[in-house]
Amino acid sequence: MKKFLPIPAAFGYFTVFVLIYLALGYDWYRNKQAPDQPIAFSHKIHVGRVGLDCRFCHETVDKSTYAGIPSVQKCMSCHANVATDRPEVQKLAGYWERQEAMEWNRVHRIRIRNHVYFSHKSHIRAGIDCADCHGEVRYMDKVRQVSSLEMGWCVSCHQSKNASTDCLTCHM
């Protein structure tokens, strides 16, 4: 019966690979997929349909390192009255009544942030569009990370735009 031995061996082999593929899928599902948010906030509605400017909500993007996420109060400047019949907006109003801060899940994060100097301010002032780095957020219902935010990505843009590629520009 020796000649049938390859069959269980192959079964094992393919099973291992199926498991590896599914494990990769699980890793994607847990760590790489765009995170769910406490409220189904949609940029497509607010930028695309309502026509708001990015800076109306991300106020500090041209003033500081971080773009900043708007407070519940900013949302309520409209949603005290607007679309109050929608369940997601009622959830929002719940946060407001409890005076509870919204814990938005971060989507973009440079992996080794401590060793990298990155600031929104200088890039926005250099006239770079949000979409060059974040993709077309105005078409996203749920924000997802479009660029890798890896060093190669930063450097290739710096090269093409004649910005500094000296190590010390970004690493201090």
């Binding site: 000649k3 390859p6 069959i7 192959a10 079964f11 082999y13 393919f14 690979f17 199926v18 590896i20 593929y21 599914l22 990769l24 899928g25 994607w28 599902y29 790489k32 497509k44 695309g48 349909r49 309502v50 026509g51 708001l52 400017d53 109306f56 400047s77 409209c78 005290a80 009255n81 607007v82 993709g135 077309e136 078409y139 996203m140 997802r144 990370q145 479009v146 660029s147 890798s148 990505w153 290739s156 093409s160």
Partner: protein, 440 residues
């Protein structure tokens, strides 16, 4: 991109769906065929060379039969090998119109090289002599044909695989950096292996099961052929999961989704079945299982094509949304013009205006109080005698006062906007002339 963006109307949702199906269909026709041509030519050349070393008639015959199998006539080459190429070009051109990637560099070059490669390949096929008097010359023809086909396919695959990596679309003008990516290399390896696998099945299927062929009478030759086909199949089926793994881990995150992994895992299940068939064919004294293995490997090609289509869908999600929005805008523009014609003949209806005000504007406005927007009594006076100004503001509000959030466009038909404007201006006029303020 100029050509496509100028002459291609942005596709609607239905058309985008259709493009996806067409893409899978085109892959499913083209890739198995090209894979088989690559596999068969490679093996044919190997047998050809062996034959000239040791003059073995089995080898010479095998060399010829393999080429006859994959390139039986011009029509097959045209339908399976050449026609899908312009189709691919059109599909990607539509799908990625308005993007920054160029459809005029790598994709058409690769397609052209692939199409041209069939000329020396066909010449090689006709020059082969089953009796084994092959020369350096025809070997050279086959070699050139194969090399050209491989080069063309590498460029073609490189061009389309990189579409799923928008972060690097800016490399489009730099062919070498565009093509030198592990993701492309693994995909190409995957095609080579799948090509050899389907050639192995092809040997089992077309030589033995195909009713259109005359049966092979030489038992020894048949035995050799069967074992050879099955062994090629067995070896490639074992290697494909490994190369598929490397392809998956080099695919950009943006192109991935749960379904991509599940599809990839499903192909492994099919490959295991193919393994069983191939092994059964080796054990069995008679040639068997050719048809079933062939169909299963075709299914692997199909699932892989669906997966490739899916990664592109994932990677171009926002791009497609932009296209759809543009198509919607064109439609809305046409609608608006029609509306304007109708509105021109319509009387402005103040009662209708009041209704619109109460149902739409009152969410954010009162006459005397600040709500989301300013109390209208304070802002309307500046529009007195300027109905058109008010109408155009309501149609397309602009940022006015920094104390308030911007007003969203209410998206009303023009007739309603005209009515509500007339109603509002009437209200402030009343308020100005009468002493009591209106009740709302």
């Amino acid at each position: 991109m100029e050509f496509f963006s100028q002459y291609v109307i942005p596709p609607t949702r239905g058309q985008l769906e259709l493009l996806r199906y067409l893409l899978v269909l085109t892959y499913a026709i083209h890739l198995p065929f090209v894979g088989m041509v690559i596999g068969a030519t490679l093996l044919s050349l190997a047998f050809n060379a062996r034959d000239r070393d040791i003059a073995n008639p089995t080898f010479a015959r095998m060399s010829k039969d393999l080429m006859d199998m994959v390139l039986p006539n011009r029509v097959v080459v045209l339908v399976f090998g050449v026609l899908p190429l312009p189709a691919l070009w059109m599909i990607y051109g539509q799908w990625l119109s308005k993007s920054t990637v160029s459809m005029f560099t790598l994709l058409p070059i690769g397609a052209l090289v692939v199409a041209l490669s069939f000329v020396p390949l066909m010449a090689y096929r006709s020059s082969l002599d089953p009796a084994g008097r092959n020369s350096q010359v025809n070997f050279g023809l086959g070699g050139i044909g194969l090399a050209t086909l491989l080069l063309g396919m590498y460029i073609l695959i490189g061009a389309v695989v990189r579409f799923q990596d928008p972060e690097r679309w800016h490399l489009a003008h730099d062919g070498f950096r565009w093509l030198l990516s592990f993701n492309v290399i693994w995909k190409f390896g995957h095609l080579l292996l799948s090509g050899l696998a389907i050639t192995g099945c092809g040997i089992l299927f077309f030589f033995f099961n195909w009713s259109g062929r005359e049966p092979i009478r030489d038992a020894k030759y048949a035995q050799f052929m069967k074992n050879f086909g099955a062994s090629v199949l067995l070896a490639t089926v074992i290697l494909i999961p490994v190369i598929g793994f490397f392809y998956l881990i080099t695919t950009p995150t943006i192109a991935l989704s749960g379904a991509v992994y599940v599809l990839a895992a499903a192909t492994l299940v099919i490959l295991f079945l193919v393994f069983l068939l191939a092994y059964g064919a080796i054990l069995s004294p008679r040639p068997r299982f050719g048809a079933r293995a062939f169909i299963l490997v075709l299914a692997v090609f199909l699932l892989t094509g669906v997966g490739d289509q899916l990664t592109l869908v994932n990677a171009t999600q926002e791009h497609s949304a932009a296209l759809l929005t543009e198509a919607d805008e064109i439609k809305a523009q046409i609608e608006l013009e029609r509306e304007a014609h109708r509105a021109a003949s319509q009387v402005v209806d103040v009662a209708r205006g009041e209704e619109v005000f109460k149902t739409v504007c009152m969410t954010c406005h009162r006459m005397d109080e600040r709500l989301v927007g300013p109390p209208l009594k304070t802002v309307l006076p500046k529009y007195a005698g300027n109905v058109d100004g008010l109408i155009s503001f309501i149609q397309k509000p602009e940022k006015v006062n920094p104390e308030y959030p911007p007003m969203p466009a209410p998206g009303l038909p023009l007739a309603d906007i005209k009515s509500v404007a007339a109603y509002l201006l009437g209200e402030v006029d009343d308020a100005g002339t009468s002493t009591e303020s209106p009740q709302h």
